[in-house]
Symmetry: C2
């Protein structure tokens, strides 16, 4: 980690703050393609694991059994905005399962989408568990519980059959043995998975290029990736990077945010995956790091990068709307 | 910067993220008492400079001329919560100056105090410039403009007599020549001052122990510090560290937050000052760093540290209220 691998916050001409960033691009054969920073560090995948966690849901047959759609599958993979369309879709999933909103154990928080949060407040309404950015994932876990005839109660527990399937899927996709994955608890109550950064990149390489996996796993990976490609608005929201990345590349790249500065990308069909961790967890450094990495790796055309420019090198404005600073990626992805 | 100087975020038993922290404690004779991290780095003082910027206001005679109170002086030093009491006090200052709210050029943002922000929204009201955390400082700048017969319009400009007095005060208190101070623009539109971290600590040492300064400067420093000691609720808000630090120590310590992870502390009468910068600017690491430094320096008794325990080593909870992690200072302040 001797080389500079930072996202720098400039105010005027002086560097005010800097964020260490760690990046690993990995091929589906497990080899490291490029890296920067402390690429071997252990990270919690947090919500970047959601597309991987959707695999056991598809494999269980729950999609067919409960008539779940690709839009709903995209929501299962989402850290969504809590907009009306997201809330409605999550509610619809629960209805298909014959469950009430109270079956969700994720807790409630203000919608990520500020206008939606403000409108809720103006109407005097409190947010519900459906507004929780993880409500799709939780609805998916409940669907999995029902599909495998496990109780829906207690689905957050590490001991619950649903969480055992999550751990097994994460382990097999990342190549990290179950006993070596380090567990923590997420903001929404579910177990989260600690692994080396390149293992997350490897899992995403395989998610997008599952050729060497068993047929049922291949099909599940393809369905998950296809659902996000077809419904990027349900992965996050119109103003969000995850959604914009799929749109800007017309599905050539699929990526997912994780809390505390994590992002994972797959380039379907190419055998490549990328994982990024901002050392301090700051979101303001994350999208500049990811976009710069995608440019350096040649995964984005100039035109696509232009569509993502506001995420790549953001300008900082003050309350009067005057530009006062900028965010600049300063690293060199090398083998 | 070879030694570990971080605030670590643990989720479960694994370190998830870490924040580099830089600290310098300085004596009023200019000598470094203790440091950690890259203590010589340049930082923007941001709002931590506000108590220093209040000095020219007091020196101008504006306090007497416009009948300003110590509570109002504390608000001039504040990054306040935008609660009703803060807004009312700022409005009262403008009234004493014969100015309208439109004289404030700070722009508007949601009050820092979330219940106040939520109540505004529930009532369908937008925040005003008075809710801006800097409205007291801006009202003070307007008072200074009037006291020195300068126009109130354009008071944000580096060329305006008010900002020239700000720069002069910062320079003389920090010991950094005016031409060497690096300028940027703050979120509220005013110039901000770039200087080495120990220079900010030195300025705060002198603010609290101004014995060697000219009599009028001494009196101004004492009035500023005394105003904060008497009215800590106007420096920030009941739930905020700045306010709690003064309360927990009964005024033995006076400190001020600056944006992007800056904090400066003076220990009045002791000749000591401390400045802290979180390298990445994260607030979640700032108070643990400051409190740990104050403990290591022996500036806090055990009892006082106990009162600040929730700032010192915060527990992280998920949306269900379960403890899932903790924030731990990991540095050793040494000479």
């Amino acid at each position: 980690m001797s080389k500079k691998s930072v996202i720098t916050i400039y105010r005027g001409e002086m560097a005010e703050s800097e964020h260490q960033v760690h990046l690993a691009a990995v091929q589906v054969d497990g080899s490291l393609v490029a890296s920067s920073g402390d690429a071997d560090r252990w990270i919690f995948a947090r919500s970047s694991a959601k597309p991987l966690q959707a695999i056991p849901l598809v494999e269980s047959g729950a999609m067919e059994r409960y008539g779940l759609t690709d839009a709903e599958l995209a929501l299962v993979c989402a850290s969504h905005n809590g907009e009306e369309k997201h809330v409605a879709l999550a509610a619809g999933m629960l209805a298909k399962l014959g469950l009430e909103e109270s079956a969700l154990s994720c807790g409630a928080h203000d919608p990520f989408h500020k206008p939606t949060a403000d409108a809720l407040k103006a109407a005097g309404n409190a947010p519900s568990a459906l507004h929780n950015n993880c409500s799709g994932k939780h609805a998916g876990m409940l669907a999995l519980a029902k599909a495998i005839d496990a109780p829906t109660a207690g689905y957050l527990s590490v001991e619950h059959p649903v969480q055992k399937r999550m751990l097994a899927a994460i382990s097999s996709m990342s190549g990290v043995r179950e006993t070596e994955i380090r567990l923590g608890t997420d903001g929404c109550g579910v177990p989260v998975f600690g692994m080396p950064l390149p293992s997350l990149a490897y899992a995403f390489a395989r998610l997008g290029t599952p050729d060497d996996l068993a047929a049922s796993r291949q099909a599940a990976c393809q369905r998950v990736v296809g659902a996000i490609q077809s419904h990027p608005d349900f992965l996050a929201g119109d103003d969000r990077f995850d959604t914009q990345l799929v749109r800007a590349t017309r599905g050539k790249l699929v990526g997912k945010l994780g809390a505390d500065g994590v992002f994972a990308v797959t380039k379907p069909g190419s055998g490549l995956g990328l994982a990024v961790k901002v050392g301090d967890g700051a979101v303001r450094a994350l999208y500049p790091a990811v976009t710069e990495a995608l440019v350096q790796l040649g995964w984005l055309t100039e035109e696509e990068a232009e569509l993502l420019a506001s995420f790549h090198r953001p300008i900082l404005y003050n309350w009067q709307g005057t530009a006062v600073g900028r965010i600049v990626p300063e690293f060199d992805l090398s083998r």
